[in-house]
């Protein structure tokens, strides 16, 4: 099985280059991280470093993601593109102009389909109250997206899909976790805190995966290209949210591995994960994203994390050869 190349740093300290290794230094001592099997570093706490260190990790193509004490994402260190392709960027822009809506529609359709799969699991386990939302996802949402609609209308229906999904949590999550409204920033209850943290982890994973392709991260299709430097990563992470982020949350909460009283910060109205909570969440998240299965088409074992990159390849194929872009479907596992 492929190794996990992600390092999380939970304590305060300093990152340094030590010969051909990365050293992390804090009051407990020096820890060495071999550079050749590191692809990303997550700094979950305050970490200092110098430009010599950045230069070193840049050469190895390592991305670094920074989070502040509250678990909010501050930004990423993204070494200068090593797979730059002018031709592909030009073609990607042309596809944006000519075919944006189609790609965006396929993304939204797949979000609905993947949410359907996730909810269907609970429906089969006796949560019959989910029937209306399942029907709506399968029929109404899909029909609406297939119509001749504008990108604004598409974004509206995408919002509806997520809202109905959040509304359905009341039928299968314990009461102290159920949220009434999804508020992004600041998270105002435990479930929102989990969703925000999980979505950000997934988003940064996507940034790292797309870094290892030729795609231009700022030309996106569902989100407006202006929304951020990495708006394409916002696009490509969407269909994986139900599969990776929400499945992780439902499992942890359902099995009581995460509890409101124990793993959230009381001082902040339980609206933030505490350190233990973050560790539990990250562990489960990593486990899920690295789980492997047989890819039906490639006939190789792949992980969900790798499927993000494969979606990048599908997009390149669409851009280069015009083949329809069909994102990762939980049902088909490809």
């Amino acid at each position: 099985m492929a190794k996990n190349h992600t390092r999380y740093i939970f304590s305060m300290g300093e990152l340094k280059r030590k010969d051909n290794s990365i050293a992390f230094i804090n009051e407990k001592g020096n820890f060495y991280i071999p550079i050749e099997d590191t692809r990303e570093i997550y700094c979950i706490n305050e970490v200092s470093f110098n430009t010599k260190f950045l230069d070193f990790v840049a050469k190895a193509g390592i991305t670094i993601h920074f989070f502040n004490y509250h678990g909010n994402y501050s930004g990423s260190f993204y070494p200068k593109d090593y797979l730059v392709s002018g031709t592909l960027t030009i073609k990607q822009s042309i596809v944006f102009i000519e075919n944006r809506l189609n790609i965006a529609k396929n993304i939204v359709k797949t979000i609905a389909a993947n949410i359907y799969e996730v909810l269907y699991h609970y429906y089969r386990h006796d949560k019959k109250e989910l029937k209306p939302v399942l029907d709506w996802l399968k029929n109404d949402a899909d029909k609406f997206i297939s119509k001749d609609i504008t990108i604004e209308q598409l974004l509206f229906i995408e919002g509806q899909i997520w809202n109905r999904f959040y509304d359905s949590f009341q039928y299968f999550l314990p009461e102290d976790f159920v949220m009434n409204k999804r508020v992004k920033r600041p998270p105002d209850n435990p479930i929102n805190a989990l969703v925000s943290f999980g979505n950000t982890l997934l988003y940064t994973k996507t940034i790292s995966s797309i870094y290892h392709t030729h795609l231009n991260q700022s030309i996106s299709f569902l989100h407006s290209p202006g929304e951020g430097r990495f708006s394409l990563s916002l696009d490509l992470s969407e269909v994986f949210k139900p599969v990776i982020v929400f499945k992780t949350i439902f499992d942890l909460v359902g099995r009581k591995q995460l509890q409101v009283q124990k793993h959230f910060d009381k001082n902040l109205n339980y609206a933030l994960l505490n350190e233990d909570g973050k560790k539990i969440f990250i562990n489960a998240f990593e486990e899920r994203i690295n789980e492997t299965f047989m890819h039906p088409k490639l006939k190789r074992k792949v992980s969900l994390k790798h499927c993000i990159k494969l979606d990048g390849y599908k997009l390149i194929k669409h851009i280069v050869e015009g083949r329809e872009f069909v994102p990762f479907s939980l049902k088909d596992k490809m």
């Binding site: 190794k3 051909n20 099997d37 392709t213 390849y313 194929k317």
Partner: protein
């Protein structure tokens, strides 16, 4: 301008040749390659490789009699042969005449080598090949991939068959 890598790929696989020429270079997923690359890049800070560059071709070594190309294995001798003939041809245009020598290093095996000469017949054929490559790489889309054994180890495998 057609490089040694391109002519090598052309004989190895035309899809690969097109993708590479059109700058769709995919990261090699195999860990061995990645580790090798990382270490190589980091070491390169200290010592620059002893390659010789002429125009856009990189030559491993030139001696009084030979242009030498080193290869790890002889898995695709046809492709290497044409790569070396291209180099000989480019040298000849600069007024440098050499014989070509390919040295293979197989794991746990003796070193093997092969001598090549650019003569009238293969020079003419080389020009035809260069023409064919130009045509191939300027077409709008790559030739559809055909699954063969070599695909399993190819960096483009996932791109080709996803």
């Amino acid at each position: 301008m057609i490089t040694g890598t391109l002519i090598n790929y052309y004989f190895h696989c035309q899809t690969q040749c097109w993708l590479h020429a059109n700058r769709i270079n995919l990261e090699d997923n195999s860990e061995d390659v990645r580790i090798g690359k990382v270490l190589h890049e980091i070491k390169e800070e200290k010592s620059k490789q002893a390659e010789i560059k002429i125009d856009n071709i990189k030559i491993d070594r030139i001696t009084k009699d030979y242009l030498i190309e080193f290869k790890k294995s002889d898995s695709d001798p046809q492709a290497v042969k044409w790569q070396v003939l291209l180099y000989l041809y480019k040298l000849k245009q600069k007024g440098i005449q050499r014989l070509g020598k390919i040295e293979y290093f197989e794991k746990n095996k003796e070193q093997k080598s092969e001598i090549l000469e650019l003569d009238e017949a293969n020079e003419e054929e080389l020009l035809k090949v260069l023409d064919a490559i130009e045509k191939l790489i300027s077409s709008a889309t790559p030739p559809p991939p055909k699954f063969e054994n070599k695909c399993k180890k190819c960096a483009y495998y996932e791109y080709c068959f996803i």
